[in-house]
Amino acid sequence: MSGLLHTTLSGLNSDSYCEISQYRDQHFRGSRQLQEKSLKISSTLYVGNLSFYTTEEQIQELFSKCGDVKRIVMGLDKIKKTPCGFCFVEYYTRADAEHAMRFINGTRLDDRIIRTDWDAGFKEGRQYGRGKTGGQVRDEYRTDYDVGRGGFGKIIQMQKANHQPAIY
């Protein structure tokens, strides 16, 4: 019975916070296999549900608790070129990014619960929101009022604008 020390217990190997989610970037250039592989070795995280006012400095401070941050790319409204509530955080090592998935994901930044997810790697163009009005898609459709993300969702805003009573 050699190598007893190599045996582990699968229950103790659980690392559910580091699992890859169901989301796949539909604009990813490359095969599905390449995307899966990139996600498995990536040290870049997508960070969502940020306030529009959250700064690079705040993100640096928080994510530095998990290791040296290589780069932060702020997500921008495609038209206005202002922050639209997401960013990419790239670490030098995957191990550091894993710590962020375990200990920063689901905690607060700027009083908001933020969400981190594995990203296949930043490519130019991915810093822009993909919603029709320039921000993120989720901000097109959401129905709640979120003061940190421009108030109501875009579609609701437009509906409200259309229903403005004419001033006589």
Binding site: L9, C66, F103
Partner: protein, 826 residues
Amino acid sequence: MSRRRHSDDSDGQPHKRRRTSEPSEIEERLESLICRVGEKSNSSLESNLEGLAGVLEADLPNYKSKILRILCTVARLLPEKLTVYTTLVGLLNARNYNFGGEFVEAMIRQLKECLKVNMYNEAVHLVRFLSDLVNCHVIAAPSMVAMFENFVSVTQEEDVPQVRCDWYMFAFLSSLPWVGKELYEKKDAEMDRLLSQAESYLKRRQKIHVPMLQVWTADKPHPQEEYLDCLWSQIQKLKKDRWQERHILRPYLAFDSVLCEALQHNLPPFTPPPHTEDSVYPMPRVIFRMFDYTDDPEGPVMPGSHSVERFVIEENLHCIIKSHWKERKTCAAQLLSYPGNNKIPLNYHIVEVIFAELFQLPSPPHIEVMYTTLLIELCKLQPGSLPQVLAQATEMLYMRLDTMNTTCVDRFINWFSHHLSNFQFRWSWEDWSDCLTQDLEKPKPKFVREVLEKCMRLSYHQRIIDIVPASFSVLSPANPVCIYKYGDESNRSLPGYTVALCLTIAIKNKASNDEIFGILKDVPNPNQDDDDGEGFTFNPLKIEVFVQTLLHLAAKSFSHSFSALAKFHEVFKTLAESDEGKLHVLRVVYEVWKNHPQMIAVLVDKMIRTQIVDCAAVANWIFSSELAHDFTRFYIWEILHSTIRKMNKHVLKIHKELEETKARLARQHKRRDSDDDDDDDDRSTDREDGPLEEQIERLQEKVESAQSEQKNLFLVIFQVMMVKVSSWFRLGFFFNLMRLNEFGFFSPLLQRFIMLLTEHLVRCETGGIDVFTPWYKSCIERLQQIFLQHHQIIQQYMVTLENLLFTAELDHHILAVFQQFCALQA
């Protein structure tokens, strides 16, 4: 049984061959059954164990080796459930004597393997497991005593590190809460002898390492005891209580009638493996205590600091964290469901254990941020009780800041500010108004200042102004704005002002590096004697004008500043070519951004990584006189530690490259040697080896140069620290300086600083100022932390350090730090 081969599907996941192969499924099921026994069940633990024993007994014919392996592994990795699994083994042994024997043999083999590869923490769990097997009638008590006799005799070995003897003593003593009673009943004379040998060892072992590891320097309200001393007190008390121990859950008691019928095995004689050069034993520890029974007057009584219950609870809680730290929800749930939680103030124990790890010196067992998030999870699960305990703990830690180790204060600052940022920064700041009347360098106001600065980094300046009472404005952080010296019209008389204006316009018009050089050529050099006419020597004014202007233009965000550094990298490299140039660049960065320490830190990081400055330059800058008043601020030390880390990672990386290339060459040789049909053409083999050998030579040089840079970095740090601290003591001061000067260690800058220090020293002497200021304490403890945190690397350079810096003539306070450091691995 069809064996369809699956091609890659659309999702690209390679599939396992789908056979109906039972074995691996059954093995998984066995592992799951064993690991989860007793969890989420309506029946009692005892009946679950009975059932499982029956299942395993039935599976023994086919899966014996797998079952043995799983049980050995849970013994090693799930020490918090020790007694559950010893009971299981006991039941199996009662049903199948041979299996019991094979299990014991496998455990001994595993123990030997652990010791061979320096897995001492896991080895302790194995020893404890074996000793509890005595309670389950699997192992005969006399043979266990014999093993412990061999353990204790290690303390008689000569010329071995104390930490080796410590481990064997710890393995013996820490098993006694579980098995002391049984062993004493069967072999009291032998046990008395062992205990008296233990006592004499503990009396004679040296403990000069203890101050370095203590979180507080004061003994009140709770002494920070050395771990073996504390354990010894606990065992003595246990003995006095006639080995009555009531906290440990002992499922085997319910099976006494079955188990006492079982035949026991004798442990084979166990010779502790000898000490080798490769042996690395665990470092000594200090037991962290912050609570006692007075802290929770309403609830159940907290076991005393010398009670064995306290030891067991703390051990188990630490084990739970070790098992589940990656899964914060599971970890929190497991901690809160620790058995006996209505007889002990569990929340207090949990908070104490978590802070014990967070404040552990030299480093916490896990990454600091884990503890913050774990505490938040615990607050979520116990919203009615845990936050109050945490607030109480915070208050207590604040009250005792005066004697808290500086490194621990740093961690407290990080934890508290991050914690607050998850709870809208709600805190009763007025409760801490006592700090407002104190000198700003004192620990309490310093702490509040640093916390507010960190809170600001996680939010923004106005937020912090809003959350503290107006009276706290003296401690509020500065508005992190950039200071541009050429910004105001009123500064136009400053030398370089017009060039700065020119530069600003040029950069805004996307000038190239060459154009920038062109503009800078016109800047006069105040050090005119040094100017060799080519304009590329150290010109502080050029650096000033360029760096000020560029940083000001790029001030908007980190990204803007990083882009600027990248775009004008060539200019930076040229201006900062000399050591003085590097130092001056850092100075100007500080001048521009002194209100925004975070910006300074990220810029310094970027400049090291892009080789605009080097690590030694950063160290020299940190210790320069311009930064003297910021010397004890947290951000300075964050920068220094980050710099050291980068240096260390760099050395490791090149080392790894070298090893990998060597391995490639070896593989190439091997391949060639195994090819029979190649002609023995010497020329062709040389050609094949050539490029790799060249690469190895290059990498070897790179490694040597990197290690030399690393050694130099530590020398710079130590020599300056030593000067700074020893400046407070006349004795040996000048002697040390002269000695170091012989080795050419003092840069011109340092010589200027020494003059300043000497003046300062004279002033203190004549003014009768007390030496042990907060500043001094902070310095000594920061020095200690560098030793501790990077001890593995510094070990390599020990000889140099010993010979050059830390001689007997050295100030005894600094020498003590060095001796304590050596004692850790002695």
